[in-house]
Point group: D2
Chain length 312, copies 4
């Protein structure tokens, strides 16, 4: 006779060879391998329904609003009256949901290479996308995002957002984090356009990939800002980068942000407002110093590569 147990199925989230976070789950909603990735949707007692891609927590029902509001709203609010948006990735549909809150929006092109995954999300992640995939302003594409973006005339978009998996060895995202790609983004943006990207784990003990993406994007855009909200289901602060030619987030007061939210957005925000904006765009001194001195420039020919030093 063994010990009575609570939960016997666990997800192991590997941070390094000697740091593993275990989450027991109680239900499996989907467990599928598409052509591009492994997708698991499970129920965690603490975080609720949660999407896991290739063994990385993507978003949980309990805190996905933090990630998606932080990714979308600074770029959407700091560009001028946003009508056209290009979204690379953003599978679950939450990034799309946030974009669609803007009253002036006319068209958003969402490009995700993995159609099979999107079909699963449409069915299984209704709480995430809330029908966004079916909004008439949305153009869904299932192809390589870089090639698609190249096909548009210059100055086509007010905002570009990339919400992709990380550019690790063999990932289809690898060509979407290079200097060449960011240069392409700049060309396709209007003069006062803005770019927002998800940019990897960012904390003082794990910063190498983020610092490299930040350094690379600085080569292309005059204004770039890293920010890093804490996402509980990730157990860490997560890095994003805002880039533009004109608008700088640190010049916007909480009052100005709150005013723009009231004017432009239909529906509620749970995480982002003027004070949160202040929080996001004032990084700790240690992280600012890291960004000043760390990072390698990523190009198509010289992709990001790292030997972790804390591994034994």
């Amino acid at each position: 006779m063994k010990e009575k147990k609570n939960s016997w199925m666990w997800f192991h989230d590997y941070f390094s060879k000697t740091e593993i976070h275990l989450h027991g789950f109680t239900d499996i909603y989907a467990s599928i391998k598409t052509k591009y990735q492994s997708i698991d949707i499970v129920e965690f007692p603490c975080f609720g329904k949660t999407l896991i891609i290739d063994g990385d927590v993507q978003s949980s029902i309990k805190d996905e609003y933090i990630y998606h509001e932080a990714l979308v709203h600074p770029a959407m609010l700091l560009s001028n009256n946003v009508k056209n948006v290009f979204l690379a990735g953003g599978g679950e549909g939450s990034t799309l949901r946030e974009i669609l809150k803007y009253k002036a929006l006319e068209n958003v092109v969402k490009c995700d290479i993995d159609e099979e995954a999107i079909n699963i999300y449409k069915e299984k992640l209704v709480e995430w996308h809330k029908g966004s995939f079916f909004d008439s302003r949305v153009t869904l594409k299932h192809t390589d995002a870089r090639s698609l973006l190249e096909s548009y005339p210059d100055s086509s978009f007010d905002v570009i957002i990339t919400d992709l998996t990380e550019p690790t060895e063999g990932s289809p995202s690898k060509r979407l984090y290079s200097k060449e790609f960011f240069s392409l983004c700049k060309n396709k943006l209007k003069a006062n356009g803005t770019l927002a990207i998800q940019a990897s784990l960012f904390r003082i003990t794990t910063y190498e990939m983020h610092a490299s993406i930040a350094k690379t994007i600085k080569e292309i855009f005059p204004i770039t800002r890293s920010f890093a909200p804490y996402v509980p289901s990730f157990d860490t602060t997560w890095g994003f980068i805002f880039a533009s030619n004109q608008a700088d987030p640190i010049n916007f007061s909480p009052e100005e942000i709150d005013k723009r939210i009231n004017e432009k957005i239909e529906g509620d925000l749970r995480y982002y407002d003027g004070i949160t904006h202040l929080h996001l765009f004032s990084l700790g001194k240690d992280l600012r110093e890291l960004l000043d001195k760390e990072g390698q420039i990523i190009t198509d020919d010289a992709p990001f590569h790292l030997e972790r030093k804390d591994q034994i």
Copy 2:
């Protein structure tokens, strides 16, 4: 950027509050909650396809033959020409598969309360049952095994086998391990009939439930023998009990066992033969001493109960 990982979904097998065995799995074939139990069928790199019930490993494709041959063949070979068998439990169909190897067999009644589970096994565990559920000699019943057994005339069966989950609090198996139930078995067996039961984890550090079942069954049958093959996917030796009125396993030579196997069985055995019989029915001195002094008698009114002493 996190550590590259091998497998991120893990089964946690709880032996005690401070002993947990983790098994990474790579595929999920089924994950279902029936009216009676939780059923998971997953793929372990080491043990292959594996059935887990309520968080306990039931059997793996790689070593289920050990468990099922050990449970079935001593009882089948030591009874006389076996024509009628009653099987309680044995969900996966492997116990049935072994019983059906006997050329003289005319009828086996298999009673498992959980029809929904059996339907899953029929579809998902073909490598286990190999079609046994559909053999014309088999009568399938989905009801309480004790009530069903009571409905037969005395001396109906040559062999009774119970292959049930453990009689823990709230388990439907609770009334199938009591002195009253074993007495019922004796009545329904022919004079030279035999009984074989799965009888819980049995090793010198975890023996309480097995010792109690053994002590209880000794109250009813003149001859009882505990045996405990090592089952790799369980990480432990597992206890079974043989009981009869006449035949005693330790009086059968390896040569006699091999002779009976040749005469009575059609098809191959992978684990059990004359020498294995010798191995099984010669327990270590420490386990024999434990059986002499430990255990409580289980009755319908006084079910098995244990406060584990190694828990902190």
Copy 3:
């Protein structure tokens, strides 16, 4: 032959019944049970030398500066010219180290009930305290902090800092988080004095204890502010509370903070400066809303108590 392994000794950090963070360690510097607590000092490849008390990570050599600078400097800079400080707890000596950076400081009373622990830290955590225990401005006491604080005349201190373990059942810290204790603190502070306390894990999925401490302290002080830096070795944002009669952190500009740091502090800060101050005192909207509606008032007779809802 088994799998070759990297690290076989692991610390399990329990966040809930279904959330466990595992950290492999490679060296054990101390593992001792004092009269009050269990103390382990180990080496993590990722976070370096780390202090664990009663199974909770207290501080790692790699990021303890975040916790200790955030706890100490807002209170020290926002009080007037600080001469006298009372510190309850703060075992490792890092809080003391930060306090001692103030040029005007004349006396700091550090009270920690566990003298045996302090003696271990003096020897094993030199990188933390950097000799602070032996500074001539320090008065070390090993007694109950509440009784000691009661023994001082009213208005004795410019700053009071509590850096204690959490007020869980049976903890000696239990009487140091109640309304009565905070009232005592107010009496012993000068009119423009400030109070800073470590105030438990604080994130949207785990906030109950922090919200209760915050609600309790609001009963006593007119100005209170929660703040929550992310501490990597904790895998979470950690809650602190600032309280005072006069000074409010949100009225201090980054420039004013940087000016005060330059004037008052000798030595460098790694985490805290004007922009970090802005970051700390601008919480996300979701956390602000939680603080508005959650929490129970803690008194000596009604200590904090919680049934966790995410437990299975």
Copy 4:
């Protein structure tokens, strides 16, 4: 506030990349790196005080008698009147303790290369060795066992026992499992001498190293027998090999074994007796078939090497 916990320090026992057994421990008695190996002595609630070398469980106070009685007594009882024994390894002193139970014994040479380890065991593992290191019949040597054995005249010993760590890459044990070493053993044994060796994990899912050692030793000795008692703290059956020129374990009846135990041994045995002998030397059919067809011959120039097939 986190989950209340039972034990936060855990040993991870790696069986393969996807099979890890976790044991919480409550005390650390020693944690030392010698010139040759890492030694941890900890307290497990289930198995009590336990010795771990290089991350492998060596023996627990609760079940070490199984391993050591199985290793020593078949060889000691089946050789003729044993006066001289050579023991390679056997650090903890338990193997020595069992050897010293023989009344006729005159001298045992125990050779263990790691003197620092032996000194720790002398002090910390008294319950294991029970003073054996200090028995006047014992000659302790701290040098390479193979060179030492070579230095003796041929036919010097009645029994040779090797109780060594496994011959993995870089291990000092590597030259003590080769065909050349076993040939050396044969030369140093008397005509009716016996050899017993610890011979790695042995179960149907992990057998490669054992099968290779068995195949190698068969090249040298006319009679060899694998046996594999289940050791609970190892969670597996563990392989040993008996070898001799004359005596074959399967020809000894339980009665003959019990008679020899009575005549030759002073003190009690807990695991081994005549029936246990029968159990040990009657392997399951599946393991016998594995030994017939698996394994490579290990020589000094061609050491054991394995690519595990179940790794992902």
